[in-house]
């Protein structure tokens, strides 16, 4: 058993750290192309300098174009969050769309006490936790990701190394999917969205201490699950 733990931990140590890949802003050519295309989405440039809370007020005053700007600003992070729960593009896309529809309907109840992004995350997490177990995911996530990577792999990486990384990522994602709901949400928000514990507490409606405890248990359970899968 001790040897297995050691082998597992050696494998973990060989993983690239997030520090090497830090930063959430688009950097690759692909991402630059995406950013340029988004500029041409038809959003009124006059809105671009307006902050999120002001956009909510504009929307409530009847200027619906303001909501389009909010969608444009937050759609990627909301989609990514949904993807991390759903594991495939089709369901993530549907979930993200529903998040924004729900947000629009609830706009009148938004008190402005949190950031709009935090509020959207809260809607997304609640929706995903309620919906994802019943989603019929027909495509294995790894297959979909490799398909998508055909467009974006500009790092000259060997195909087998990419495949290995994809398999590992799929294993991790499958293990995360087995975690209890709150642990799963905490881990996704903390590790993948890099949110501070305080903001996660606001999203999940928990105390900061409970979020940290959940995160600890999530990591401990995840380690156990990954070890079981590696046997």
């Amino acid at each position: 058993m001790a040897a297995r733990v050691l082998a597992f931990e050696s494998a973990l140590a060989s993983r690239p750290s997030l520090a090497q890949n830090a930063g959430r802003e688009p950097r690759s050519e692909w991402h630059l192309k995406v950013a340029r295309a988004e500029m041409a989405d038809g959003v009124d440039p006059a809105w671009t300098a307006v902050d999120d809370h002001a956009l909510v007020r504009e929307c409530l005053a009847g200027r619906r174009g303001a909501f389009d700007v909010l969608v444009e600003r937050h759609r990627r992070h909301v989609y990514q969050l949904c993807y991390r729960f759903a594991g495939n593009h089709e369901d993530a896309s549907d979930l993200a769309q529903e998040v924004f529809i729900r947000a629009y309907r609830a706009l009148g109840g938004f008190k402005g006490q949190s950031a709009v992004g935090t509020w959207l995350y809260r809607i997304a997490v609640n929706l995903c936790l309620n919906r994802v177990p019943s989603l019929k995911t027909s495509k294995p996530p790894a297959f979909e990701r490799l398909e998508a990577r055909e467009h974006m792999d500009d790092r000259g990486e060997a195909a087998d190394a990419a495949l290995l990384r994809a398999e590992r990522a799929a294993e991790v994602r499958a293990a995360i999917a087995c975690l209890p709901k709150k642990q799963r949400a905490t881990l996704v928000l903390r590790v993948y969205h890099e949110l501070p514990h305080e903001e996660i507490a606001g999203i999940l409606g928990s105390s900061v201490g409970a979020v940290k405890a959940n995160f600890f248990h999530a990591m401990a359970n995840l380690k156990k699950l990954l070890m079981e899968r590696s046997r």
Partner: protein, 218 residues
């Protein structure tokens, strides 16, 4: 004994997470430096964390630019026919909403009655009682004859969005000083919005008053 005390002082789960984040208080950092068991737990946590963290682009593939355009359009079309949320933020905060509505009613009533009083005073020779006395008696009349007073019927026209029964059920009653108290609780932006509401309603009420005076020949 020493070992026992050390065991009792081990970092708890929350502190282990704090340590991972570099947020462990200095008072506990000393224990971590001295305790192999706690350091092993933190290292293990850190290793698991590095395993979970993805390389860039590994966990969520970036959809095509066309997808984002379609996505925004789908959301836009889905909400296009949705009824808008309440367009006024007064009604998003019930307490403030009622306070604002009450303030509109009270302030509008005061202006209407003051205008009427001035007309009467101008029309009647020698009708120049001290303003303070007039205001006092007027307010007193308002307080006691609110349901029968025709002036308050006009006020209800001003506050046609306000259900009077609901306001009374909510325990709101117009009394001298109500408007001032409500106005003092508002932020500058809210006061500005209230002033605009009152201005709009007064213009509308002035038109009604002129039409009524024209009809009765007053």
């Amino acid at each position: 004994m020493m070992t026992h005390l050390n065991h009792l002082n081990h970092l708890n789960n929350v502190e282990l997470v704090d340590s991972l984040d570099g947020a462990l208080p200095a008072s506990r950092a000393g224990h971590l430096d001295a305790c192999d068991a706690c350091r092993e737990r933190v290292d293990s946590l850190r290793l698991t964390m590095s395993a979970v963290r993805p390389a860039e682009g590994d966990d969520v593939p970036e959809p095509s630019p066309l997808f984002w355009q379609h996505f925004s359009r789908r959301v836009h079309e889905a909400v296009r026919d949705e009824p808008l949320a309440p367009s006024s933020r007064w009604f998003r905060a019930p307490r403030l909403g009622w306070a604002a509505a009450t303030a509109v009613v009270v302030l509008a009533a005061a202006v209407v009655l003051w205008n009427q009083d001035r007309r009467i005073r101008d029309a009647v020779p020698g009708g120049s009682a001290p303003i303070g006395e007039q205001a006092s008696s007027t307010t007193e009349d308002l307080s006691w004859n609110i349901d029968d007073d025709e002036d308050w019927a006009l006020v209800r026209v001003v506050a046609d969005d306000l259900r009077w029964e609901d306001a009374q059920d909510a325990g709101l009653h117009a009394r001298p000083g109500s408007a001032e108290r409500v106005a003092l609780e508002m932020s500058p932006a809210e006061r500005q919005e209230l002033a605009l509401l009152i201005k709009d309603d007064l213009i509308r009420m002035d038109d009604l008053l002129k039409a009524e005076m024209k009809r009765t020949g007053a």
